[in-house]
Symmetry: C2
Subunit: 359 residues, 2 copies
């Protein structure tokens, strides 16, 4: 096996340059003589990382002082509860746009906490698309609207931000930093790091200060956003190494030319794979409707599961790792986050053509 390409959906590929940098300084972090794995979160050298990473996230997303960036634990799954605990008071309703399994899970947790309204739910159609603006039937005065910008499992993605007359909350775990977005349209963005931002173990929460000010009291101190905002994410020991890695990834994105450069590369990578599907005369069947196709997760099926198994096995033998689809959709999935090199997507597209010719 000469070259490995990591198509896992998350934890996912991290840029070689970032991994090499982490390796290089693993035993001596910024001249401290200690590893970043063993340095106190109160040490000056680590505090510098906290300041840098908040600034880098804001710079990449074009956000100013009216936003805070928090580094929490527990993944997006914990955010599913934290969002309604903090922002869904009794007597109000939160609207949920349901475009996949993760939206469903977010809705399920919110329902346990308060009143919810489902704006759109395409589960009957196995989530092949995201809604058009005119399909969105909001409740009268939602306290917030929740959406999932990219649906990892189904391979669909919003290409425009819905127009909403309420604070917009988004799970961006799988497409944050993949392209420029108008981040100011969101009152709260959350993202598990393990797709586009770094390794697993930290959840980035970007929150508008005036939205944070509307939060209600929460029973558990650790589940209050205010706890972490007041202490700059150092209320208790944060996941230092994962935060350090997010900082390295942000620096890498900036060095690559920022989100515009990411988008251009991501579009080229996606094009290779969607072309391979579209030019296969139905040998590969795309799961997502064309208008809703994700730039991050390319999902497709084949005539039968035996053939799919063969595709996965032969692909793995050739170094294409993690291309089996999620059990909810079956088939295949190639996740091509920011750190997937263009050659990886190109090579997989070539493999798809070769496999078709052979079988």
């Amino acid at each position: 096996m000469s070259q490995i390409y990591n198509f896992y959906a998350g934890p996912a590929v991290i840029a070689k340059e970032v991994l090499e940098r982490a390796k290089e300084e693993l035993l001596d972090f910024r001249g401290t003589g200690m590893s970043v794995l063993e340095i106190s979160h109160r040490a000056k050298a680590f505090d510098d990382v906290m300041v840098e990473v908040e600034a880098n996230v804001k710079q990449l997303l074009g956000l100013g002082d009216d936003y805070r960036v928090l580094f929490l634990q527990g993944g997006a799954s914990t955010q599913f509860s934290m969002v309604p605990m903090n922002f869904l008071p009794e007597g109000r309703t939160a609207d949920y746009i349901v475009t996949g399994s993760w939206s469903q899970k977010a809705l399920k947790e919110a329902k346990k906490i308060g009143s919810t309204h489902v704006v759109f739910d395409d589960s009957e159609n196995n989530f092949r698309r995201v809604p058009q603006q005119e399909e969105l039937q909001f409740s009268e005065d939602p306290v917030y609207v929740h959406m999932t910008t990219n649906n990892t499992i189904y391979g669909t993605e919003f290409h425009t931000i819905p127009q909403v007359n309420a604070p917009l909350v988004a799970d961006m775990s799988s497409d944050i930093m993949a392209r420029p977005i108008d981040a100011e349209k969101f009152s709260l963005i959350y993202a598990g790091a393990q797709k586009n931002l770094g390794p697993a173990g930290v959840t980035v929460v970007i929150i508008k200060k005036d939205f944070l000010d509307t939060a209600q009291e929460v029973n558990a101190t650790m589940l209050k956003y205010a706890t972490h905002a007041e202490k700059n994410s150092l209320y208790n020991t944060p996941p230092c190494f994962s935060i350090y890695m997010v900082n390295l990834v942000c620096q890498w994105i900036l060095e690559q030319g920022g989100l515009k450069a990411m988008e251009a590369k991501n579009r080229r990578k996606a094009q290779y794979l969607y072309d391979a599907i579209d030019q296969s005369n139905g040998y590969y069947i795309g799961h997502a409707e064309k208008d809703s196709r994700s730039l991050m997760n390319v999902t497709f099926t084949m005539a039968n599961s035996d053939l799919e198994k063969e595709f996965v096995a032969e692909g793995e033998a050739q170094g294409f790792i993690g291309i089996k689809g999620h059990r909810s959709v079956g088939g295949l999935r190639a996740s091509i986050y920011n750190a997937m090199p263009e050659e990886g997507a190109k090579a997989l597209a070539q493999f798809m053509a070769d496999f078709q010719a052979k079988h």
Copy 2:
């Protein structure tokens, strides 16, 4: 500066051998051609880690199949809420032994959830000691008894496990794996990893199965122990790298001779420093009463804060890092967890004598 000794209270020193192993395999995890930072938590190679680490934790603590080991996020601070959410039903009372700031915080979160009873609280005395058995006045039928085995901030530690007629729950964040304990006396043990187990970012929860079976329903899926037990800590993406590091640390402890060897080494290290205090004729004043002294955190003050500042500054210049005391106690604190080499404690004791002679 020739040699650095890391006395931080947490995140804290990690054994050189462990850091070197992590560095060595950072770009190629077990022959996968990928980093452990970017491999899927569903990949076989990572699943092997999960199986190994649960087995290693159990082996070190002498626990069998009637216990589960979970790898969660959010630190001990999240456990402060999870424990009562899962195990303190309406109409019952939970007993708290309050021996320091962390016990106080645990109690504070429990109070928000249900009825509590304070068994012992030495805050008036600034937590210089842990209680004797006869001082423990439990409530009539506590649903559980909560204790903190080692008090990082005050430098006190239980040297015998209290006798309790209820499930015993312990925050062992700062002394887990420091010596052999009768772990079967506990129904639930939790520990943030960043002191004796590895880097920050994972919380190890050891739970007796029959205690877990008594848990009540919890509103947030992620805060239910059962969620994580049923899915072997893979309900959502776990903090993979931190778990991998905990596994390396467990392997290292086993290679060193297990908990007996750790205890012997830890006692020698503590002896150097307590001797330095006791033989200083009151120049260094130990915070903890002698019977309650911690093997992990040696706390002491000096005649005045100017002298303490000078001690910290001169110490740092000589490579003794992180010896400033916590703001609650002031003064100095040397944390000498498992990974602190014996020479480190010896060198600090020598520095204390030299400093005294000089000033």
